[in-house]
Structures are given as C-alpha cells and as structure tokens.
Point group: C2
Chain length 206, copies 2
C-alpha cells in the first residue's frame, strides 16, 4: 500500500542536512567565488556537510555545480521576473523589474553580488561541459517570459498593437545585465536606481 510513496521514516542513520538548504548554501559559495575558486572545503563548510555525504547526495563537484545552476535558474533568477509579471500596470511592472534586479544584485541575502549566471557561471562557459546550454536556455527562456508579459499588455490595450514585444524583452534583459555587472563591481545601488525612470521610458517608448 505504501510501496510507491516514500515513508516518512527511512531505514538507516538519518541525514543531518536538508538537501535544498545545502544546495542553496553551495550556490552561494559558487556565486561568490566561481566554480574553480570554490574548494570542496569551502563548500562542505558552508553546507554543513561532510565530503562523503556531499558526494553521496550530489555526485562530484561538477554535478553539484549544475544542480546549483538549476536551483538558481528556477528560484532566485526569477525574482525580478515575478515582480514584472505580478505588477498589473505595465509601467509599474517594468519599474518593478529593474528595481528588483538592482536590489537583488546589490543586496542578496547570501552576500553575493551581481547575478550568479552572469557574474560567475558565465566564466565557465566553454570550460565546464553543458554550461553553455544551461546559459542559453536561461537567457532565451527569460526573453520569452518577458515578451509574454509585454504581449499581454498589448492585448489589454496598454501598449499599441505595433509594440515590438520580443525586441523590447531582449532590451530589458540586456539592460539588466548592465546593472548586474555594475553591482558586481561594487557600484552603488542608488546610482543605478536613479537611471530607472529613464529606462522605463526607453523600454515602453512607441
């Protein structure tokens, strides 16, 4: 009766760690130090886990890295996107997108700056197998998700029928990369915030 579900209790010594929490901790380390800059000691320390437990749960360092990328792409990277999709008015939505992007890149709870994908993972494109594909997918998915929200604003009459949704979606994405790079370098969030109004106008200009 219970053979397909996982029972709440399993045989053997129980794990001391939570998989998601450990993965989030690993992502923070990779984000701050990069793939090669993050040693297994850095990782196990931050994750509160032993070497063998890490290998049993996540495979080797490269597999852990890719899991961390997936974790980021389906959680953190979406925060500005969610802000954009949630705000009903399109102008407010674009503003919320940039505001969230800047805040996120400057003051992430992990202490890391910039964007994990743009500021750390990008370095390993062409070095770690499969990273190129993960990055391309993340970029194109974001383009389309941004475009979808813009298109719905067109459908609702908030934007003219001729509005180039996909082009402006890419524009939003690329502008975000600029903010992200500046934040990684340590430039102030306030200075970037001052540019938001102008950029909202640029994105929505007819």
């Amino acid at each position: 009766m219970n053979d397909t579900k996982n029972s709440t209790k399993k045989v053997g010594r129980p794990k001391k760690f939570n998989r998601d929490e450990a993965l989030t901790a690993a992502m923070s380390v990779f984000w701050k130090r990069g793939f090669d800059g993050a040693s297994m000691k850095n990782l196990t320390d931050a994750m509160g886990i032993n070497g063998p437990s890490l290998y049993a749960e996540f495979g080797d360092k490269e597999a852990l890295y890719k899991s961390a990328i997936d974790c980021y792409a389906s959680n953190d990277a979406c925060a500005p996107l969610v802000a954009f999709e949630t705000e009903p008015n399109i102008e407010d939505a674009v503003r919320a997108f940039f505001t969230a992007a800047i805040n996120y890149a400057s003051d992430h709870e992990s202490g890391a700056r910039g964007c994990f994908l743009a500021s750390s993972v990008a370095t390993t494109a062409g070095c770690v197998e499969g990273v190129d594909e993960l990055l391309c997918k993340a970029i194109l998915d974001t383009d389309h998700r941004l475009a979808f929200r813009l298109q719905s604003a067109i459908d609702k009459g908030e934007l003219p029928p001729t509005f180039p949704a996909l082009e402006r979606a890419r524009l939003m994405f690329d502008l975000r990369q600029g903010f992200v790079f500046r934040a990684r370098a340590g430039l102030s969030a306030d200075a970037m915030m001052a540019d938001i109004d102008q950029r909202v106008r640029v994105v929505l200009a007819e």
Copy 2:
C-alpha cells in the same frame, strides 16, 4: 651620456620572449578559463615562457592577472569605443559601437568569447584584492568616454541640446553587457546584429 636611456643591448643572457606578447597570451588564458581556472601550466604553455621567467617578469599569478586586466582595459576593451569615437556621424557611430562590441565578443582572435572584464574578471570581484577598484574604474571611464562623444554630437548640432548624454552613455554600456553575456553563452552574433537598428534608435531617441 647614455646613462638615463636604456641601451639597446643589455648585459646577460637575452630574453626569449616579448613582454607584451606574453602578457596578451596570459590575458587570453585568464579570459577563457577565469583566474582560478587558469593554472600556471596553462599560462606558461600559452605564453611560451618558463615558470621562473614568468615570476621574474610579472611577479606572482595575482600580479600577472592584474597586469592582464590593465592590458585589456587599455587595448581590447577600447575597440568598440574607438569605433564609436572614429565614425563622424553619430548614428553611424552608435551602430559601429554595437557592431564592434558584438563582433569582438563573438569572434575575438584569441578564441575567447564575451568580454574579459564582464565574463571573467567579474567573478573575482570581492575575491582578488583590488579587482573591484579596477572594474569600477573601467566602467566609469567608459561611461564618460561614451558621454564625451555624445556631448560632442550635441555641440555639433547632431543631437538636441537637451539630449541626456551621460544617461544614454550608461544605456549604451549596459546594452553592451547584454550582448557580451549572450556571446559568452554561445548565442549567435547574427541574432544580436538583428537588434542593432532598433537599439541605435533607442539610444538616440529624443
């Protein structure tokens, strides 16, 4: 009479390498693999130099890295800037800037993709001492150099007196970061080129 100038011939066994060429080779390795991903073996192989010679000429790995950053900032990073400053007509100039940026990020002679500063050095911000400052300086210098060219277009009457030169300079820079990220991920240059006309209009819109 010759004591302040360097004589053409020096005492001792002559060097087998050219400093600038070796530094350029080192930059390519750091660009492709990142600071931590580039081993001393990778570096000496690419530079055609021995370990001890490298240390004598450039100091340790970190010093070599910073020299490579300086080398890039005062040479390669300027290519799109120079294109922008050289083209007489402002619209052609903006187009040339983006075209050069995309070409450079997609087909650099070294085989590296993206931008050394944005795609590799950014990862070491906060990890390698002094990198933050180098990055901030490179960003702000570029902002101002772009703004200077826009201002001269205003002065010549190509752009209206109310044109927000510095804001649009930052806009150009940040859009470039998007192209650079896409190129690093492996997206096609042609797809990016197709966006240029629209972005030229965005940058110069009144």
